[in-house]
Each structure stands twice: as C-alpha cells, then as structure tokens.
Amino acid sequence: MTHAVAIQHLHYRAGKRFAIPDLTLTVPTGAIYGFLGPNGSGKTTTIRLMLGMLRPAGGTITVLGHGVPNDVPRALARIGYVPEQPHVDPTLTIDETMRFHAAFFSTWDWPWARQLAATFALDGGQPFGRLSKGEKGKLLMLLALAQRPELLVLDEPTEGLDPVVRRDLLAAIIEYVSQREATVFISSHLIHELERFCDWVAVMDDGRLAAEVPMERFKNSVKRLRIANPPRTPGDTPFVLLARESTNGRAETWIVRDWAPAMAAYFERTGSSLDDIIDLDLEEAFVEVLRAFRARNR
C-alpha cells in the first residue's frame, strides 16, 4: 500500500447547486497533505465522503486499504478526525468525553491522553459546552491524537483560534508525526500555516481539483514573468502557462508554473525578451493558480 487515501473519479451531487463531478486525488502514505481551497469549494464535503459520512454517486474511495463506504468502520478505527465544527456532546465533561471516546478505540493511549491534557491545560471536570473555543479545539485534537491513528484527518482545525492555540495544535501534530509515521490530511484556507509543515498540497475549487503537487514545487515553481515583445500565441511551452496579462501593449505579465531557469531559452526562440522573473509566495501562487483554473473552466 503506497497511498493512505486514493480517490478515483469521485462523483457526488448535493442538491442542485453543488457537485463534485470527477475528483481524483491520492495522499501518499506518511505525507502531510494540505488541502487548500476557498470557502464552499468542497473541502469538507470531500473529507466527509472520505470518512463515509456521505454517500457518493460514483467513483471509488480507498482509505488505508479499506473501501469506503462499505468497509468504513475498519478504516475509522485507524483514523483520527477533527471536524470543522465541534461535534462532542456539550453536556459531557472533558473526562467523560475522553472515557466515551476511549471506549470505541482499542488503540486509545491513556498516558498519552493525560499528557496531552496537561500540555493543553485542560480541566477534566469542565463540561464541554462551557469551554472556550480554543479549549474545544484542543480537546478535539486530543481525542484525535490519543487514539494513536495512522491517518489524521483535520478539517480546518485552527479556524478561528488565536495564534497561541494554533501554535500549540500544530506543535502537537508535528510531534505526533515525528514519533510515528502517520499520514496527515489537513484542510485549511490559512495557506501560510500549511506552508510550514505540509509536503503535499492540493487546491480545490468548486468541486474540482485545480492542482495537486509537492509543496516545494508549488512554492518554487510558480513565477511571475515580465516579457517584452511576447509571442502572439505561446505554442508549445516547457512550463505551464497559467495566465497572461497585457501591461502596456508591448509587454505582458505571464504567470507560469513548473518554471525552471533553463526555460528562459524559450523566449529567445520566440524572439521575446524575458525582462524579469518574480518569485511568488504561497498565497500569491495559490491565488494565481485558482484564477487560472477558473478562467480555464469558465
């Protein structure tokens, strides 16, 4: 098994307004896979389909070698899940919640759970409903980590949390991954957060996958090029042209992906002049990729 998650030609429809027409993505085992996308792009829906909470209309989903949704209980026993919204009964205390959760997972590690509770400074007697947003986020992360999962599925786990809490949660994830060769599937629209520790990134937009590449390649290979006397038609380019924009009639700005320095020879061949190569940070790259994707699919 080389992939922790393999989704092939997934098709799903929710009412008349949203659909996932044909989604294919793979999460390599041991990877920290960042799942980016604007609000309403289908990230949470994709995660719920992966976890067997929604019934797909077509396609196949395999998680840790188990088919979903037919064999989803076995898969869920090895998955730690932190949802977008808190899903725990608010009337239960922290200790009660941990006992409830532990009863369903045979891999639950009580010493590790208590250690995490101490690290997160959680008071076991507090009802979940009375916790602050940050404390709720920490408890949900504790529940996911303490069951020692092979796959962590985190749906915007730091959404709305202050920087200190976000740092604590991400540190816990990193520590867990370093102890154990677990796979992490984390969705977010906080790109800079994912930039620090994800090694794969996928961009989702309106139910479609706009990009799925290693993080380094995504960060380093998206460039903004200033070109004088650009060719009218680009033809066969060695890079992926995402967008082109005229600046003053005789010059253009090109956004490209998969850029390598040797590709400058292309402009010599076409009689153009490459005036400038500008590095884009992850956020700019993300925006340009999305923009180009939307333009192509309009």
Binding site: M53, P73, L76, P90, L92, A103
Partner: protein, 218 residues
C-alpha cells in the same frame, strides 16, 4: 461501548427516568387508596372499581410520556451535533443505533419495575371485597410492554431525517384531506376512523395502549 452509552443515556434522561419511576410506583398505591383499610365501607365496591379505572387511564399516558421523552433524549445530542461524531465512530451504524436503543430500553426498566413494586404493595395492603382480585403482575407486564412499544415508535420517529418526518406528516395530511374530500362529496370513506381503528385496535401498533387498565377487577 454499551457501558459508556448507558452512562451518557443516563446523564441525558435521569430526570425523566427518576420522575417516571416515582410516578410509576405511586400510581398503583394511589389508585387503591379507597381500599387501604379493613374498615373500608362495603357499599363502596363499585366506587372503588370506578376509581381504579379512572386512575388506570394514567398508565398508558405515563408509558407514552416515558417512551417519548427518553427517545427524544436519546437522539437530541446527536441531532445537535448533526450526527458527525457518531458517524465518525468505528462501528457500523446499525450497531450504534442498536446500542442506543438498548441503552434507553435499559433505563426504562426502572419505571416498569417501579409499577410492579407499587402494584404488589398496593394489592397486598388493600382489603379487597369478595369477588375482586388484584392483577399486579399483569398490569406491570402490560405497562412494560406499552413503555417498550412507545419508546420504539418515538425512537424510530426521532431517528429519522427531516425528509422522513416530512414524508410521515405528508402521508397523515393526505389521509386527512382524502377524509375531508370524501365527506364533502358525500362518499362514506371515514378514513380517519378506520385508521384510528387499525392503529389503536389489536393487532395494531398501539393496541397495547387501548382498553381498561385495572389493578383491581372482578
């Protein structure tokens, strides 16, 4: 797993179960209070049976209320969390629902046993006129069955989606409309009456609630 589910079920329904247990214990005793002493007036036998029958009408009400409230308490937290937590647990959905059902049913044993205890105490302490007998065990068994059936009905309804609830309401509404149209058109359909007979009579689902509930009888 069942233990933790039972614990949470108890936490959600303890007030309902406690009140129901106290009421179930007290009801038989109160219903025969007219026959509590040996000095009971023999002229009041008919009145005693009438009182027992009147109080007896509260048994199906208590059973239905317990079933309804415990079923709602069973599903309320899941509804609030949109079932995400339960669906993320590593066990088949049917098993989870069955465990929930069993947890609620286990708690409902308390009021049923309380009715049995109260009925046994009431019949033991009552001075019964000749020809009048006590039926504590029959009454308690019937009460237990009514609680179970009521709980199952409301559990099924509570577990359904909004679409299911809408479908059920739609069917009921359609039957009522057909009944009204039939009346206006002069066609004797009596849909509501027939439905009532089917549901509330034997072997209908709610037949257990119909009839007299007599702790003391001839």
């Amino acid at each position: 797993m069942f233990q933790v589910l039972l614990y949470t079920q108890w936490k959600w329904s303890r007030l309902i179960v406690t009140v129901g247990t106290v009421a179930g214990f007290a009801l038989p005793i109160v219903s025969v209070q007219g026959a509590a002493g040996a000095a009971r007036n023999p002229l009041e036998t008919g009145a005693l049976l009438a009182a027992v029958q009147s109080w007896g009408a509260l048994y199906p009400v208590l059973a239905a209320a317990l079933g309804l409230l415990v079923a709602i308490a069973t599903w309320a937290p899941d509804h609030r969390g949109r079932h995400v937590y339960a669906l993320a647990l590593p066990l088949p959905r049917w098993r989870y629902v069955l465990l929930r059902f069993g947890a609620g049913l286990s708690l409902l044993a308390a009021p049923a046993l309380a009715v049995l205890a109260g009925a046994l105490l009431a019949t033991a302490s009552a001075t019964m006129p000749p020809g009048i007998q006590g039926y504590p065990v029959s009454l308690a068994v019937r009460f237990a069955l009514a609680v179970v059936v009521g709980y199952a009905v409301f559990f099924a309804v509570s577990s359904g989606t909004q679409r299911t609830a809408g479908a059920i309401l739609g069917v009921i509404g359609l039957l009522i409309i057909v009944h009204i149209i039939g009346g206006v058109a002069g066609v004797d359909l009596d849909v509501v009456g027939r439905l009532q007979g089917i549901v509330l009579g034997w072997p209908g689902p709610l037949g257990i609630f119909s009839g007299r509930w007599m702790l003391l009888d001839v």
